[in-house]
Symmetry: C2
Subunit: 358 residues, 2 copies
């Protein structure tokens, strides 16, 4: 009789006290209460919850009904303490408000939520030390898995992590047990851009690169260089300038290009943001896009369809990358082998490119 929680007034929701009232943080139904009410032991309830062992169909049904009635949901914290899952997966991104990776976050969220997992977002700011400490934080929080969006962690560090928990990493080609890597095809995307311009008759193609210590930037640069080398005048280092993946960097880079006096009829920016900056610089210099120079971006941000002129850009659905990463994580978590999948790059031709002027 001295039990603490007795008669836990089930389902008292939906009374007539106003609109969608928040489910009253009821005196917290516990697993023990369910067990008691169903007349079974706590272990049995736990087993049913986790599918840890076989339970007789009758008891299972009974317990499941009771769970419904009491609207019982296991406490993630208690679960974690006891060595179970936290139903959360850590997501290491670089800036929480990145227009590029942002879509990936949404993809992850959209996939994880229906599976009852919660993403835990942390930002590494493109700084290895910071990434390392954020990942440590995630481990403290006992995430069940870790999704790493590119970033600067070493392959070795990732491999090491994969020994402790399932890891999904994008922007890399790595192979290991408990580790799934998902590389989008930066090189191919860049090749597409070069070929497009080439087909339009452009021969002097300038390139605004991202910072080369940035994995995406390096890959895109490789793609550009590789493809351009197979064409007419070949690769010309004077036609490439390094930016910082920001609008301002693109602006400055274009300024440099213009100053250099080198001629070019087209420009590829390693990302859309730099393309925006470059476009403004061209405008300031009295040059029109695409009449005077063609411009190609990379990423196909949402805005790019609405810039003036609408920007031709290389698209690799980052949203899809996020979704795929999350699904792979779910697979890993369920001890299934995720299907390998490549996110294709695709060129979206709009109005910033046209046939070279003769």
């Amino acid at each position: 009789m001295s039990k603490k929680h007795t008669d836990p007034t089930p389902s008292q929701a939906g009374s007539a006290d106003g609109p969608p009232a928040l489910p009253v943080p009821r005196g917290r139904t516990t697993l023990g209460m369910v067990a008691q009410r169903a007349g079974v032991s706590p272990s049995t309830v736990s087993r049913i919850l986790n599918g840890t062992a076989n339970v007789s169909p009758v008891k299972r049904a009974l317990v499941e009904r009771t769970i419904q009635e009491l609207d019982f949901r296991p406490d993630p914290m208690a679960r974690s303490l006891a060595g179970g899952r936290t139903m959360s997966v850590g997501v290491l991104t670089q800036f929480i408000d990145s227009p590029f990776y942002g879509e990936a976050l949404r993809g992850i969220e959209d996939q994880l939520h229906p599976a009852n997992y919660s993403p835990l977002f942390v930002s590494g700011h493109w700084n290895e030390a910071e990434e390392t400490s954020r990942v440590a934080l995630l481990q403290e929080r006992k995430v069940d898995g870790l999704i790493v969006l590119t970033g600067r962690l070493s392959d070795a560090a990732l491999l090491e992590l994969a020994k402790a928990l399932p890891v999904v990493v994008t922007g890399r080609r790595l192979s290991a047990d408990n580790l799934y890597s998902l590389d989008y095809d930066n090189e191919e995307g860049m090749r597409l851009a070069v070929r497009h311009l080439h087909a339009l008759g452009h021969r002097q193609i300038a390139f605004i690169s991202g910072p080369l210590d940035h994995p995406d930037a390096q890959a895109r640069m490789d793609g550009f260089r590789g493809e351009i080398q197979t064409t007419e005048p070949g690769y010309d280092p004077d036609l490439v300038v390094i930016g910082d993946f920001q609008e301002s960097g693109g602006f400055r880079a274009m300024g440099l290009l213009l100053q250099s006096g080198r001629l070019f009829s087209a420009v590829i920016a390693a990302n859309d943001q730099m393309a925006y900056g470059a476009r403004l610089a061209l405008h300031r210099a009295g040059l029109r896009v695409p009449e005077d120079v063609s411009l190609v971006g990379f990423d196909d941000l949402l805005y790019s369809a609405y810039t003036l002129p609408p920007l031709t850009s290389v698209r690799q659905s980052v949203y899809e990358v996020g979704q795929t990463a999350a699904r792979a994580m779910l697979d890993l978590l369920a001890r299934r082998t995720p299907p390998s999948k490549v996110i294709p790059a695709e060129l979206v031709v709009r109005e910033s490119t046209r046939m070279v002027r003769r």
Copy 2:
């Protein structure tokens, strides 16, 4: 002698095995181990950690040193289970990749982290039911506090929540114990925009509103209407059209405006994204900005400085909103009263507006 964890090999970090190796998830140092090593009771360690009671300076120093040596960090889960804090605060936003609220998330993150709190981001998608369920999820996860970025929860729901945990809301004017609300001044911002245009001689000013069931949209609409009513021709309902806060909606809205045959020399869009769409529609119609029509946006997104022409827009530092909200939360958590602060709106004049043509 049958203790489980003995001699927990302290600080084995920084050996010569490669670059910034991840701090080996050591066999987890526990509070008990600290206590044992320092020769005090676990409770004493706990008290020092939480400042729960007075401890003699000598023991305190000793324990603190031991904590350093062992690199001990309390387990958030265990802490939560035992009724302590989780050192996490829930953040309800609407879309994790919103270009507008994204900056706020960064502001929150930047403030919370140094204080050792982790944000837990969830998205409500402008859907009251979803917001409610996400908040419930946050409560399950036992967040210490809750930051709500605008959204559709009722004031009543918020007030109810504030009884259970500290709450900070933006985009609202609410007052209650344990609740801090932070309203940015949409109305004033809109007034600024109208006055600017008016000063340039514009009299026929069209307005592209956001969806009116959206709090920000309503406030901005109110601001526009209020100010325009005090001027020359007054408020003309035919000159306002409802958009959806997206580029595409701005595009369509401008199309409608153009079709209507009504004359106007300037347009205000309730947010930058719609301004982008409107600008493209104007372009398609052969109208130039600002030569033929002046255009003003709202939010001053990062891109707006790089659009063609650079967009005149109303700025209210969302980053600052995030920071302020987070600081207020920290205050609430520490049982201090947050200073009331208003985030001022400011007009950033660029090149999309000019004197009306006569």
